[in-house]
Symmetry: C2
Subunit: 872 residues, 2 copies
C-alpha cells in the first residue's frame, strides 16, 4: 500500500464521477459542494477502506486512521467547532453510502460528539437545554443500538419508565431534567447489558461508529437486499462524516424530503413533505405525519424560493429526477443529500419521455433509464373501475405504490412468507415496516401500513419492488398479538380477504375484480423508440388465440412457442387422447387421433388468424403420455366405463407408462419414434389449417418444431414424417405452402451436435428450462428446496431457472448458435424458455446473437425494452 494513496476525501475534493470510491451519497455531496449548493461540510471515507477493513480482520491501517484524523481536523477548522468541546461542540452524522443506493439497509449514527461536557456546550450555544439533552439521549440510544448492539426496545422501555413515573404522555412532554435522568439510565443500561461503558471520548465514538457502518455492509438485510436487487461487484460502503445541522431548533427550523418530480406519476412538479422543528428521522420513521412541500412556501418563503432554484439546478446538472433531503436550521437552508430518485414504472416512463421532450436527454438515454423489471407494474392488473365504483371503501391511506392487490390479511413477514409458500395470496398489514420485513413484502401481493408517509420505508421499498402499497392508513388499528385489525367497528381477522388500490390509497374489506392495465401514450412512445434500436425480435409463448391477441397488443412479432399439449386437455379431446393411449394397435390409435384432428385444426386456424401473417412456431406433442391418464381410482373407474375397457386394462397401461424420472423419459420426439401417427395427425392439422387460410388469401408460414432432440436421427425420423404428411396434405388441398421444420435445443447433446442438426433444422429454439434441468442435473420440480439453500449459502447468485446461467448453460447456447450457423448461415435462432422474459437473460440472448426471444404476453414490452437496452 502506497503512503500517498488517498482513502479519505473532503467534500471539496470529490465529484459525481467518483461514485465507485465515494459511494452515491458521498459523490453527490461532493458534487453539490462543487456547485456551490449549501451542504454542511464533511468528508467521505472511501469504499476501499470498507474492503480493507474486512480483509484486514476488521482493523484499519495507521495510514487510514491518520487520514480520518486529518480530515476531522480540517472539518473542525472549517466549522470553527471542535468535537467534544464544552463551549461550541462540533456534532457530526456518520452515514453509509454505497455506489448503488440501498435505502435503509445500512446503519447511521446522528448527533455524534455529545458527551457530558459537550452537551452543556450545545445547550449554551443553542440556548436550548431541552434540545441539547434530547439530542444527547437520542445519540446514546442510536449509538447503543447501532454501534453497541443493544436491542432498540430496551431503550424504549427506559423512556416509557420515565414517562410513566412523571405521568407524561408523549416524548415531547419530556423536559430537560427528565432527559438528564434518562441519559443516566441509558448509560447504566448500556453498562449492564454490554459490560462496557458508553464511550465519552468523541473520537472513540467516531471510530466506533465508522466501524459499525462498515459492519452494517454485511448485515443480513443488506446481503438480502443486494441479492434481491442483483447488486454485485462492489467493494463495500463508503462512510460520510458530516457536520450536523438541526431541524429541531425551534419553529424556524425544520427538515424534509423532496422529489423534483412526482415519483408515483412522473408529473413535473416538486413533490415532497416536511416537518417543522424535527430531525430527518422523524419524517422517515412516520411517527408524525408530515406536511406537503407546497406549504413551506407560506411558512418560509425565502427558504422555499432558494430550494426551488436549487432543485432546478440539480435536475439540470444530473439530468434526472432528484430525491433530496434538506434541513432548515434557524432559517438557513442546507441540502443534506441528493440522489437520482426511485420511482414507479409509470413515473419512470413519463419522466424519461418528458425529459426527451425537454431536451434534457436523448431517446437512447431514455430507453436506458427505465428499469425493465419495473414495467411489470404497468403491465399488471388494476382494480376493475366498475366493481370499485360500487364497493364500499373500508379506509384510505396514502397511495404509496400503484397497482392493485387482493389477498388474505397477514400480520407478520414470516406469515406472509409461509402462506405464500403454501400458494396463498396475502396482503401484509403492519403498523409500519422495517428492513426486516423485506422478504415478507416480497411474498405479499401488496402492503398496507397504518403509519408513515409517502417516503416511509414501506412506500420506498414497495415502489422499488413494483408492488402495490397503501401507507399511513391512520384509521387502521392493528392488534399484533391477536392478529387482526379494526377500522372503527369493522374487524378484519387474519385470513380475511382485503383489496388495496395502490394508486388511490383505498382499502376494501373484500375481494374486488382486477382488470388489465391501459398503456399510456408515453409508454407507447418509449416502446416505439425501443423498437427502433433493438436488434432482437420479440415473440410470445401462446397456446390460445386469446393469449396471442394480448401478446399482439403488447407488440409481439409472432409466436415463438405454441405448446400443443395444452390443447389436448379441453372437454372431449382428453377422451380421444386417452382412447389413443389405451388403444392396442396402430389402427386403434389412428382412429382416436382422427377424432382429435378437427379440434387441432381449429386451434391452429384460430392462432394463425390472431397472428395475422406473423410466424407461428408450433411444437409437436412434448410431455410423456402418462400425463394424460387419470390418477385416482375414481377417475380410472369412470374412464373404464367411458372407454368400455376393464379397470385392469387401464391400470396396466398406467403401470406400463410409469416412469422413475419422467423428465428423462419417453417424451417429445421419442414418443413419435414409437407412435409416428401422433406426429402425422399434428402435421396434418397444422398444414390443413394453413392451407384453408391460404385459400382465403391469408399467407401463413407454419414453423413446425420437434421437441427434445438429442440425436440427428431423432430429428430426421420426425422430420421425414412431417415432410411426408405436409406434402400429402398440400396436395390434397391443392395449395403450395411455405413451411419450416425446426427443433428445440433443450437436451445438452442437442447443443453439442447442433452443426449436424442444422443440416435438417431450418430453425432452432432454445428450450432453456430443460437445458437448465439437464445441464445442472436439477429437476425443476424437486430442486426448488435445495436451490433456496444454495441461494442462502451463497452457492448461487440467482436461481438458474429464473435467470439464465450464462457460465454453463449459456456456453451450450453459444456453442449451438455457432455450430448451427456454420452449417446453415441463414438459420433462425430463438429462445422460448422462461428465460425469454428475464432481462438479464435477454441481454445474453442479444450478446450471443439470437434472432429473437419468445416470452409470456405480459413480458413482451419488457423484452422489447431490454432488447433495446442491450443493443445500446
Amino acid at each position: 500500500m502506497s503512503e500517498q494513496k488517498q482513502f479519505v476525501f473532503s467534500f471539496e475534493e470529490g465529484n459525481a464521477k467518483m461514485k465507485e470510491t465515494l459511494g452515491g451519497k458521498g459523490a453527490y455531496l461532493a458534487e453539490m459542494t462543487q456547485f456551490g449548493i449549501p451542504v454542511p461540510p464533511g468528508f467521505t471515507i472511501s469504499t476501499e477502506v470498507c474492503d480493507l477493513y474486512y480483509k484486514n480482520n476488521q482493523k484499519h491501517s495507521e495510514e487510514i486512521i491518520n487520514q480520518i484524523n486529518a480530515n476531522l481536523k480540517k472539518l473542525e477548522e472549517k466549522t470553527g467547532k471542535t468535537l467534544g468541546e464544552a463551549i461550541d461542540p462540533l456534532l457530526v452524522s456518520v452515514r453509509s453510502g454505497a455506489a448503488v443506493s440501498m435505502p435503509g439497509m445500512m446503519d447511521t449514527v446522528l448527533n455524534l460528539g455529545l458527551n457530558d461536557e459537550s452537551v452543556a456546550g450545545l445547550a449554551k450555544k443553542t440556548g436550548n437545554e431541552r434540545f441539547a439533552w434530547d439530542s444527547y439521549r437520542r445519540f446514546i440510544q442510536m449509538f447503543g443500538s447501532v454501534v453497541m448492539g443493544l436491542e432498540h426496545n430496551k431503550f424504549e422501555t427506559e423512556l416509557d419508565a420515565i414517562k410513566h413515573k412523571n405521568n407524561l404522555l408523549v416524548d415531547t412532554d419530556l423536559e430537560a431534567p427528565h432527559l438528564k435522568e434518562l441519559v443516566a439510565n441509558y448509560k447504566t443500561l448500556i453498562q449492564k447489558e454490554t459490560g462496557k461503558l458508553f464511550p465519552s471520548d468523541p473520537r472513540e465514538q467516531l471510530q466506533m461508529s465508522i466501524d459499525a457502518v462498515f459492519r452494517s455492509w454485511n448485515n443480513d438485510r443488506a446481503i438480502t437486499y443486494r441479492r434481491l436487487n442483483n447488486i454485485k461487484g462492489l467493494l463495500g460502503t463508503a462512510v460520510n462524516v458530516q457536520a450536523m445541522v438541526f431541524g429541531n431548533l425551534g419553529e424556524t427550523s425544520g427538515t424534509g424530503v423532496c422529489f423534483t418530480r412526482n415519483p408515483a406519476t412522473g408529473e413535473k412538479k416538486l413533490y415532497g413533505e416536511f416537518l417543522m422543528n424535527a430531525q430527518g428521522e422523524d419524517v422517515v420513521a412516520g411517527i408524525r405525519t408530515p406536511r406537503p412541500i407546497e406549504e413551506l412556501k407560506s411558512i418560509m418563503p425565502d427558504c422555499y424560493n432558494q430550494f426551488d432554484k436549487i432543485y432546478h439546478q440539480l435536475e439540470n446538472d444530473y439530468k434526472d429526477m432528484q430525491d433530496m433531503e434538506f434541513t432548515i436550521q434557524e432559517g438557513k437552508l442546507y441540502i443534506l443529500q441528493t440522489r437520482n430518485g426511485k420511482r414507479t414504472a409509470a413515473a419512470s416512463v413519463k419522466i424519461a419521455v418528458d425529459m426527451v421532450k425537454e431536451n434534457l436527454i436523448d431517446e437512447k438515454t431514455a430507453i436506458k433509464r427505465v428499469l425493465a423489471n419495473q414495467l411489470d407494474q404497468l403491465l399488471h392488473k388494476q382494480l376493475d373501475p366498475v366493481a370499485k365504483k360500487t364497493a364500499e371503501v373500508l379506509t384510505k391511506g396514502l397511495p404509496a405504490s400503484p397497482g392493485a392487490a387482493v389477498g388474505q390479511a397477514v400480520f407478520s413477514a414470516k406469515m406472509a412468507h409461509d402462506w405464500n409458500a403454501e400458494g396463498k395470496k396475502v396482503v401484509l398489514v403492519r403498523a409500519e415496516t422495517s428492513p426486516e420485513d423485506i422478504e415478507g413484502m416480497h411474498a405479499a401481493q401488496g402492503i398496507l401500513t397504518a403509519r408513515g408517509g409517502m417516503t416511509s420505508h414501506a412506500a420506498v421499498v414497495a415502489r422499488g419492488m413494483g408492488k402495490c402499497c397503501v401507507a399511513g392508513a391512520g384509521d387502521v388499528k392493528i392488534n399484533e398479538h391477536e392478529n387482526y385489525f379494526t377500522v372503527g367497528s369493522i374487524r378484519i381477522n387474519e385470513g380475511d380477504v382485503i383489496t388495496l388500490d395502490g394508486s388511490t390509497g383505498e382499502v376494501f374489506a373484500k375481494a374486488l375484480g382486477v382488470v388489465d392495465p391501459e398503456l399510456s401514450n408515453d409508454f407507447n412512445e418509449l416502446m416505439i423508440w425501443a423498437d427502433k434500436y433493438r436488434k432482437l425480435g420479440v415473440r410470445t409463448n401462446a397456446d390460445t388465440p386469446h393469449d396471442a391477441e394480448v401478446a399482439r397488443k403488447f407488440g409481439a412479432e409472432g409466436i415463438g412457442l405454441c405448446r400443443t399439449e395444452h390443447m389436448f386437455f379441453n372437454g372431449d379431446r382428453i377422451k380421444a387422447v386417452r382412447e389413443m393411449i389405451l388403444a392396442d394397435d396402430v389402427d386403434g390409435r389412428k382412429r382416436a387421433l382422427k377424432k382429435l384432428l378437427p379440434y387441432q385444426k381449429d386451434d391452429f386456424i384460430g392462432l394463425f388468424k390472431a397472428m395475422d401473417g406473423y410466424s407461428v412456431t408450433i411444437r409437436l406433442l412434448d410431455p410423456p403420455l402418462h400425463e394424460f391418464l387419470p390418477q385416482t381410482e375414481e377417475e380410472i373407474l369412470e374412464l373404464a366405463g367411458e372407454m368400455n375397457v376393464t379397470v385392469e386394462h387401464i391400470k396396466n397401461r398406467i403401470e406400463d407408462l410409469r416412469e422413475f424420472n419422467p423428465m428423462l423419459g419417453h417424451r417429445g420426439c421419442s414418443v413419435v419414434v414409437t407412435y409416428p401417427e401422433i406426429a402425422e395427425m399434428q402435421t396434418e392439422a397444422i398444414i390443413s389449417a394453413a392451407c384453408e387460410l391460404a385459400k382465403t388469401g391469408q399467407k401463413i408460414v407454419p414453423e413446425i418444431m420437434i421437441p427434445l432432440v438429442g440425436l440427428k436421427q431423432e430429428l430426421d425420423f420426425n422430420a421425414e414424417i412431417v415432410r411426408r404428411v405436409a406434402e400429402e396434405t398440400m396436395e390434397k388441398f391443392g395449395v403450395e405452402l411455405d413451411y419450416k421444420i425446426g427443433t428445440m435445443i433443450e437436451v445438452p447433446r442437442g447443443a453439442l451436435i447442433a452443426d449436424k442438426l442444422a443440416e435438417t433444422a431450418e430453425f432452432f429454439s432454445f428450450g432453456t428450462n430443460d437445458l437448465t434441468q439437464m445441464g445442472f442435473g436439477f429437476s425443476r420440480d424437486d430442486a426448488g428446496k435445495f436451490i433456496k439453500e444454495y441461494l442462502a449459502k451463497g452457492l448461487f447468485e440467482h436461481d438458474p431457472f429464473q435467470t439464465l446461467d450464462t457460465e454453463g448453460i449459456g456456453q451450450l447456447i453459444k456453442m449451438a448458435t455457432e455450430l448451427g450457423r456454420a452449417t446453415r448461415p441463414e438459420i433462425k435462432l430463438g429462445i422460448c424458455g422462461e428465460h425469454g422474459g428475464d432481462p438479464e437473460s435477454i441481454k445474453f440472448c442479444h450478446a450471443v446473437g439470437l434472432n429473437y426471444v419468445s416470452c409470456s404476453p405480459f413480458r413482451v414490452p419488457i423484452a422489447r425494452l431490454v432488447a433495446a437496452q442491450a443493443a445500446l
Copy 2:
C-alpha cells in the same frame, strides 16, 4: 465412369490385399491361386459393382456386363467347357463375399449352368445320369428360392410327393426317372407361383444369380448382422463365379471343412470333418454325419498328404488359423475357400500365444488378435455347451452380466439370504432390484429381473460382483405376494430350480451343467504382454475388500470407484442411516452418524489393506436419502417401533423426501450442502482409516471424490468440509497424510466448467452413466424400452449406456479433459462409469488421453487387453 476401370477380376489377377475390392473370399481365392494351390478357376465381380448396382436402381452398366462376359469366356477357355453346352457343360457356383466375413447371411447359388440340354451333357460326361439330374433338381430348387423368391418348403413338398408316390424313404433312393419327373414338377411350380418360366438360358441364369447375391447384401438378416457386429463403411458384397467341382461323383470324390487348429481349444492340430460322395452343403446341413479329417489319411492318402502340405503353407502365408473348405473330385483335391477361422476365447488366446512362440507373429500382433469382448467367456462360469444344446429355453432377457447360474428361485433378498445361509443355492428373481437387495444379490448365484436394461441397478451391481444376471426378461410375470412367476402358461414356484445364461440372456426351467473358468498360463502371458504396451491404467470399481481382492487378482492397479452408499445397507448400519434421516436436527443427525463412523472406518481399512498401497478413490455418498427409507407399510411400522417414533413421522419424512425425478434431485454434493455432517463423518472415517494404517507403516493416499458436481461452488463447499475434517483428523492421529480431493464429472455443466473445477479438484473421474443420462435426457431406468426401438429402427447403432457415445458425450469428456489439463496440467483423469469396461469406450478413453479406466473386477483383464490394443 472410365472405360478402363476394372470391375471384374479373374482369380489370377487378384491377391489378399484386395479384400476391399474382392471381398474376403475373392481375395483369398486369388491369393491361393497365386500360391499355386489347386483352386477351381473363376473370377470375382468387385464390391464396387454392388454399390453401383444399388446406386443405379438395381441395374448394371454395359461396361460391367461386358467385363463379366469377357471373364466368363476366359473361364470357358481355361476349363475347356462351355456354359450350357450339351456335351461337356461348364457349371459354376455364384457366391457372396464381403470384405468382412458375414457367415451364412448372404445367398449362394450352386450348379449354375444346368438346363434340359446341359444336364444330358453332364450325365454323359460323368457317366452318371442320376448325379446329373440330382444336380439339376438341386439347382432349380436353389435358384427358385434364392433368385426367384419361392419359399423353400414348396420344393420340399414336391420332393415329398414324388417319394410318397414311389414309396421311397430318403432322397438318395430317388433314381434318374424320379428326378426327371421332379425337375418337371419344379418348373411347373415356379411358373405357377411366380408367373415366370424357369430360365433355361445359362447366361440369364448367371446374371439373375449375380443380382440375387447383390440383393442379399441388404436382406434383413445381413443388415442385422452388420449392426450387431458393428460392421460399417463397406461398399457391398463381391460376387465370386467359380467353376464347380463335384464331391458327389462317386466313392473317389468327397468334400470337407477343416480348421488348421482346434477352434474350441486352440490345440495345434488339424481339426475338421469330411463326407465322401457328397457336396459341401451336405456337410454343413448336418444330414449325414461327417467323419473326422484324420480318417481321410487311410481312405485317400495322397489327397491327405497334399492337403497336409497345403494347410501348413496357408497358415504360414496368412499367419493365422485357417478355416478351409475342400472338395475331392474323382481323386483330385481342390481348395474351395480359406479364411481366418472363428474361434472361442480360449482358442483365441492359445493360438495367439502359441504363434508368438512359433515365431509366426510378434507379441503386438498376438495382442491385436484376441477379441476383448470374448474374454468374458474365460472369466465366468459357463453353461455346459453340450447340455445347453438340447435344453429348451424358457424365456430370454438381456445378457446383463455374463456367466451361468443354477439355483432355486427365490423372490426376495431376505429369502435369498436365508436360504443361502442354509446352504441352498438360489437365483434371485425380482421385478427389478434396488439397493436394499444387495445382500440378497450377494447371496444368490444369479439374478433374474423382469424389468430394466443393461445398465439397470441389477445389471450394474451384478457385473460389479461378477455375478450372472439376466435383466429385463419382459415375459416373466412375477407374483410377489404368492412367490411365483409365469412365462406364458409355465409357472415357476419358489424353490423350483432354474438356470440362467448371463452371456446370452437365456433362462431354462431346470438345472443345466456348468463349467468353471480356468485362467490358463497362456492367458497370463498375454496379459503380461498387454501391460507392456498399454498406456492407460486399469483400476477397478469395488466396494468391498472381497471385490478389491478379486480385482487385484485380475490385475487392477487401484480402485477407481468405491461407492460408499452400498456400505450403508448392511445389518445395523441401515438403522443408523435411517435414524440420521429421521432426526429432527443437526445434533440428532450427528449422533446417528457417530454410530456409522466405526463401520465406515473398518470398511476403508479393509479396502486399503486389500489394495496394498495402490490408490483408492472413495466417492462420498451419492444417492438421494429416500433410497434408504423403507417403502412398504409393514417395514414402516417395524421401523417406527425400532426408532421409537410415530408411523406418521416416518411417512411425513418419506413424503418430504419424495421426488418426481430422483435422478435430477437432491443427491450427491447437494445433499452435503444441506447436511454437511454426512461428509464430515465420511471424511473422518476415510482419514482415520488411512492414519491408523499409516501408523503400522502402510502408506495410503486416499482420493476423496465428490459426486454430481455441476457448480464450482458446490465442489468448494464440499471440499472445504473435507479439507477441514481431514486436517483435524490427522492432527488427532498425529499423522501427516497425503490425500487428494477430486470430483466426478457426470453433470453436463461440470464438463463445461472443468477449467474452473480443476482449480479445486486434483483429479476428475468421468461418471459416464450420468453424463449419458443427462446429456441425452434419457433416464437409465426408463429409456430401456425406447432405446430398444431406437436400435430396431436404426436410430442407434449401440445402446449409449453400453458403448460410450463418442459423438456427443465423448465431446463433453474431451472438452473437460482439455479444460482440466489447461488449469492443472498434472490432473489425474479417469473414467468410472460402466463404459470403463467396454472395449470401444476404452479405446476412446485412450484416444482422448485419460490416465486410467476403472471397471468391475471381472472386466479388468478385458480393459488391460483393449488398452494395449488401443495403444498399438
